[in-house]
């Protein structure tokens, strides 16, 4: 029972990553591996900032900007230099590993001794655990609303159309290089903020904390879509957030049932592989129904 609040809290903080992955994977139709570098980049930037005495919100804002820059780099590689998007993401991710070490100065920074966004408010009346829940909820709510608004604007619609049909949107006068870069920038900003929040909640930033984040993001996106639908853009956003919560709940449950934590990534990868191949199996099932 005492696991419920931490599970929901983690689900909320990681749902920003999930929204970021949704923006690239579903909206832009790109599998962007930059997230594996921009997530720890956000954590590293925020951690280094906090240790230098920055206000936690400043640290998060700077983390977001750092995330945007990593999106610009990947976007530049795949539009202007015509490097395939998957490879462009990998290049940025690898480069960011070194960048993150530079930002932190070492492989791991502890945040136990500094003020974070989770303990500067509330004047000690609210436990840190509840603060994470509350702050996480506020961040997710704001992000959800802003994303819904933005992707409903003319620019947002151009980005969505870019992911759907580049011929069409170019024929309608939109520079797809710009829309792709913009999408990557927004996505990686959210991923970096997610990293900054997770680092503060967990009390440390680690250069290795990005490993597997793309898969966690994908798992959240797909779980959300399957369980909660994709009728409209609003519906998709809510699904992704709920998907992140469900993913955390599944992880908490399998750990409770005694699965060794070291096997978590294996478990998640298998989960995502099964979920991604669902359409194939569903197609096969349908065919069998029709013919048989």
């Amino acid at each position: 029972m005492d696991l419920i609040i931490p599970t929901i809290s983690q689900g909320l903080l990681w749902s920003l990553l999930a929204i970021g992955v949704f923006i690239t994977f579903r909206v832009l139709d790109i599998a962007d591996l930059t997230v594996e570098g921009s997530f720890p980049l956000g954590a590293a930037t925020a951690a280094a900032g906090l240790l230098a005495g920055w206000h936690p919100l400043t640290a998060i804002a700077v983390a977001a900007i750092a995330g945007m820059l990593s999106g610009v780099v990947t976007g530049f590689l795949c539009t202007k230099l015509r490097i395939p998007a998957l490879l462009a993401g990998i290049l940025t991710m690898i480069a960011l590993y070194s960048v993150n070490l530079h930002v932190m100065g070492k492989a791991n920074l502890s945040l136990l001794q500094v003020d974070t966004v989770f303990n500067i408010y509330g004047a000690g009346n609210i436990s840190q655990g509840n603060m994470i829940l509350l702050v996480g909820f506020i961040f997710v709510l704001l992000t959800g609303i802003v994303c819904y608004w933005f992707f409903g604007t003319e620019i947002g619609a151009a980005i969505r159309a870019t992911g759907c049909n580049q011929h069409m949107i170019r024929a309608n006068g939109i520079n797809t290089d710009v829309t792709i870069i913009l999408g990557l920038v927004i996505s990686n900003a959210l991923v970096a903020v997610s990293g900054a929040l997770v680092a503060q909640a967990n009390g440390f930033a680690d250069v290795g904390m990005g490993v597997g984040t793309i898969v966690i993001g994908l798992a959240s996106v797909i779980i959300g879509e399957v369980l909660f639908g994709t009728r409209s853009f609003k519906n998709c956003l809510v699904s992704v957030i709920l998907g992140s919560l469900v993913y955390r709940a599944v992880i908490a449950i399998v750990l409770q049932m005694g699965m060794p934590p070291n096997d978590l990534k294996l478990f998640t990868a298998i989960l995502v592989a099964i979920a991604l191949s669902m359409p194939l199996f569903q197609g096969k099932l349908k065919k069998r129904k029709v013919t048989g």
């Binding site: 011929h167 309608n172 006068g173 797809t176």
Partner: protein, 264 residues
């Protein structure tokens, strides 16, 4: 209106797959000209159209629209002046988006998108009126995803989108070729309607010689990357398929393999 002067395009130059697709094409259109373009497979028709639309840059020559030299412009920038319908019904619309959203995007062709709401209610009535003119019942389905429409409905919608903001030049690349005969005839009738009533300067590629003769006020035939035949006005009005074949034989010095042109 459109001035194409001596354009050349070679694909994959310097490799074994090198292919000269356009070798010195010049074409001047007057405002309101409706030109049908015919020619065998690989003659360079699509390459000509893509050169105008800016899908790629030409190697030599110039393209001028309404006095403005667009030879070096990118595809998206040229869209300000050019409306397009592709051969593939999937290419002209965004399948995951609503009819209304597609139209809203098309209603902004040629201007920078802003941060205002994309599908304002104010545009709805306009869209509904426009869709009604297609006679396909789409006016009641503004919020349907375009992916749910048939190929013919999608081509009709794309045609509407391409002309929603009046283009200085309308490019149609075999836009009825992927449709069944009945739907193709409907979309062609719609095309004639729109082009003639609004006097749009238009280039239409077709594989159907009958359509090429019955539509428009001018006809050109491409062969091996060059314009071989160019007839217009009264001469075109009285032209028959037989005349065309004879003209081709005279100009190219070889017999036209008419199967590719006639059967479509």
């Amino acid at each position: 209106m459109l001035k194409i002067d001596n354009i050349y395009k070679t694909f994959n130059p310097g490799t074994i797959t090198e292919k000269v697709a356009l070798r010195g094409v010049s074409l001047h259109l007057k405002p309101g000209d409706f030109v049908t373009v015919i020619g065998g497979n690989g003659a360079g028709k699509s390459t000509l159209m893509n050169s105008i639309a800016g899908t790629f840059k030409v190697d030599k020559g110039s393209i001028v629209i309404d006095g403005e030299d667009i030879t070096k412009w990118g595809e998206h920038k040229r869209a300000k002046y050019i409306g397009r319908v592709f051969q593939d019904p999937m290419m002209g619309t965004a399948a995951n988006m609503q009819i209304e959203e597609n139209l809203a995007i098309a209603s902004r062709r040629g201007r920078m998108p802003t941060l205002s709401w994309s599908s304002p209610a104010a545009q709805r009535e306009v869209f509904r009126e426009q869709l009604k003119s297609l006679n396909l019942g789409l006016e009641d389905r503004l919020e349907s995803k375009v992916g749910l429409l048939s190929g013919g409905q999608r081509q009709a919608l794309t045609l509407l989108m391409a002309t929603l903001v009046e283009p200085k030049l309308l490019l149609l690349d075999e836009h009825t070729a992927a449709l069944d005969p009945k739907t193709a005839a409907q979309v062609l009738a719609l095309t004639n309607d729109i082009v003639n009533s609004r006097k749009l300067t238009t280039l239409m590629i077709t594989h159907n010689m009958k359509d090429a003769l019955s539509c428009g006020n001018r006809l050109i035939m491409l062969h091996d990357g060059k314009i071989l035949i160019d007839v217009s006005g009264e001469e075109k009005k009285h032209l028959t398929i037989r005349d065309l074949l004879a003209m081709f034989e005279k100009a190219a010095g070889s017999e036209l393999n008419s199967d590719a042109l006639l059967l479509s």
